[in-house]
């Protein structure tokens, strides 16, 4: 087990910068998920930790040792690849045991450890099969076992679940988390799936365009997104984002309707208001109005899709609420309104810190 220190690390391909000076500390035994859209540099960051990409600037330390100039095998990391990267001509046992074979471990010792690791991921019966004869989930397990057998200091996951079907993905997600709880090995997991990120992470790092937008516990990030980007990326269904202007009274105006907010703002300032679909309170006397176009039935909840101030607006209601399409009146508790600067996209904090949980 080891901590990872990433200090002003950047990466460029030729003159094209893809990662701009990232600082991040991963504590020993922590499960960190790096979340971001494709092309945000999250995989590049992971590959720099693994040693598969050179670090253009800055430094990465694993367990207190700077690893910039070390070969991948000397860094003590194990990686699970998106397409598993199993050796197609080797059996499952050979795939899992290859690292030990390269390291020159004796055959008996090797066989014992392969069997041990295979048992932890439930592969005992498949040791003699080739990867081509396995299902997606089983291949995924082989890739995990191959990483585990080296007893690495750090686990690196490069979108390992994105090739699985939805049901299997949920199942593997839980298995990975259970495995981490049992082994306690420092892990960095890269994904573009925010549900995966929320459920797996001890700490979530949201990246965009080669920079870290926000790092914190999934709960903190969900409750107080640091920027408009994070707000739009984390949460499902995503937060509704609407342009608004600050009026004389210090409240905001959305499409002609004034709403009081607990922020201290200069009149005339342009902001983006963020409202989570589940924070909307339906009431016939509500000042906000929307026309519901269609209803998305999710079983546990229902999503009412409409428009507000010319942008799409989603409202989440309980399954028991059988409201159909048509006019909808609602209000939003002022404390639940997130505000972001219209130009920089950065979060504007409440004037007086409000403990949302205390409500």
């Amino acid at each position: 087990m080891a901590d990872i220190g990433i200090r002003s690390v950047s990466k460029s391909y030729g003159r094209q910068p893809v990662v701009h000076g990232i600082d991040l500390d991963v504590r020993s035994g922590e499960f960190v998920v790096v979340l971001g859209p494709s092309g945000c540099g999250k995989s590049t960051l992971l590959r720099m930790i693994a040693g598969l990409e050179e670090i253009t600037e800055g430094e990465i330390a694993i367990g207190g040792r700077v690893v910039n100039m070390l070969e991948p095998r000397e860094r003590g990391c194990a990686m699970v690849f998106q397409n598993y990267a199993l050796y197609p001509h080797m059996t499952v046992a050979e795939n899992i045991g290859y690292a030990l074979k390269v390291a020159g471990t004796a055959r008996d010792e090797r066989r014992r450890r392969v069997r041990e690791v295979a048992a932890t991921v439930g592969l005992d019966e498949f040791l003699d099969r080739k990867p081509g004869q396995l299902s997606g989930g089983q291949r995924q397990r082989v890739a995990m076992a191959r990483a585990m057998i080296r007893e690495p200091k750090v686990f690196l996951f490069d979108e390992p679940l994105s090739n699985l079907d939805a049901k299997l993905r949920v199942q593997m997600r839980i298995e990975i988390r259970k495995l981490h709880n049992r082994l306690g090995v420092t892990s960095v997991f890269v994904t573009h799936d925010q549900i995966e990120a929320m459920t797996l992470a001890d700490r979530l790092v949201v990246m965009n365009a080669g920079r870290i937008e926000q790092a914190g516990t999934p709960e903190d990030i969900y409750r107080a997104p640091a920027s408009r980007f994070v707000a739009s990326f984390v949460g499902s269904p995503p937060m509704n984002l609407i342009d608004a202007v600050v009026d004389e009274a210090g409240g905001i105006v959305i499409g002609g309707v004034a709403l009081p907010v607990p922020h201290r703002l200069a009149a005339g300032r342009k902001v983006t208001a963020g409202i989570r679909p589940e924070d909307v309170v339906l009431s016939d006397g509500g000042e906000l109005r929307s026309d519901v176009d269609f209803v998305e039935e999710l079983g546990s909840v229902r999503l009412l899709h409409g428009r507000l101030n010319d942008v799409d607006f989603v409202v989440q209601v309980a399954a028991a609420d059988r409201r159909a399409t048509g006019a909808l009146a609602f209000t939003v508790p002022p404390k639940r309104i997130h505000l972001f600067d219209a130009d920089t996209g950065l979060r504007i904090e409440h004037d007086t810190p409000v403990a949302i949980a205390a409500e």
């Binding site: 990686m79 990267a85 390269v102 191959r146």
Partner: protein
């Protein structure tokens, strides 16, 4: 595409039969000729059914022209060329595909344009080098005014001389390059994470994955090397080093100047010399097709 029209079927089959006849007829004639005595073979028209002198013709020409020894020579040369070609092709393609160094593409194109320089084109310089393998180095050293006392190595009349000039292969390098390009990058990265160095990855992963490719290349190259005629003829003066194809040439025209050729014996020898590459193709055919067409990864 599946067509179900009887007329088209018939035409297709007719075409196939025509092709078969065109390809097989000369060989049938050779076979028939090899089974008659000399007088019958020279009759006009030649009989179209096999005679009963087959065994004695084959045995006689085998002993007389010492084909046992020549076939062994050919086998050694063809095997050596095949192994050499595969090794060099795989290694050079490995270098070109998996390593980033300056002038990489230049080297690739240098190899590639040697396709336009078959042995026949560069036969004089190749002979000069074979006669004195280190001569180029001596010339270069001499250009700098150095007398390094580089020894003379003569490859004439040796297996090395027969094999080495034939082992470089642009075709093979290209075939391997194309194959390596289809191997996912993640495999190399996974091997890196597993602690395997480049040669380990090459031997443990790339070589086993390219087995079908290797079989295809081996088949082509074995036949190519076995059929070599000009180079062995040029480089071997010692009859002990002669190859089967060279020996075949000595049967036509006849053993003595001005004599008519012994057609029955010449034809028997032809079939015997043809047999080994034919067998290689027959046995390797499954792999051969796989290696050139499919890629099951």
């Amino acid at each position: 595409m599946i067509e179900r029209t009887p007329i088209l079927d018939a035409v297709t089959h007719a075409l196939m039969l025509l092709g078969l006849v065109l390809a097989a007829l000369p060989i049938v004639v050779v076979f028939v000729a090899s089974t008659h005595d000399l007088a019958t073979v020279n009759r006009v028209p030649m009989p179209l059914w096999p005679g009963d002198h087959m065994a004695e013709n084959y045995a006689r020409v085998w002993d007389k022209s010492r084909f046992g020894e020549k076939m062994l020579n050919s086998l050694i040369v063809a095997t050596g060329v095949t192994v050499g070609k595969i090794t060099i092709a795989a290694l050079s393609a490995f270098s070109i595909v998996y390593f980033r160094y300056r002038l990489r593409m230049v080297f690739f194109w240098l190899i590639f344009i040697t396709l336009m320089l078959p042995l026949e084109v560069r036969i004089v310089p190749t002979y000069a080098v074979a006669a004195d393998a280190l001569q180029p180095f001596r010339v270069i050293a001499g250009g700098f005014g150095l007398e390094l006392g580089i020894p003379q190595i003569n490859l004439l009349n040796s297996y090395a001389g027969l094999i080495l000039p034939l082992v470089a292969t642009a075709t093979g390098t290209f075939l391997y390059r194309q194959f390596f390009l289809t191997v996912p990058d993640e495999l190399a990265e996974a091997a890196k994470m597993d602690g395997a160095g480049p040669m380990r990855f090459f031997i443990d992963v790339l070589i086993p994955l390219s087995r079908a490719n290797m079989a295809a290349l081996a088949t082509i190259m074995f036949v190519y090397a076995w059929n070599q005629y000009l180079w062995p003829l040029l480089i071997t003066t010692d009859q002990k080093m002669a190859t089967a194809t060279m020996q075949l040439q000595k049967l036509v025209p006849g053993p003595l100047f001005g004599q008519p050729p012994l057609w029955n014996e010449a034809m028997a020898a032809t079939l015997m010399v043809m047999a080994p590459p034919l067998l290689v193709v027959v046995f390797m055919q499954g792999w051969f097709v796989k290696g050139l067409v499919a890629s099951d990864k």
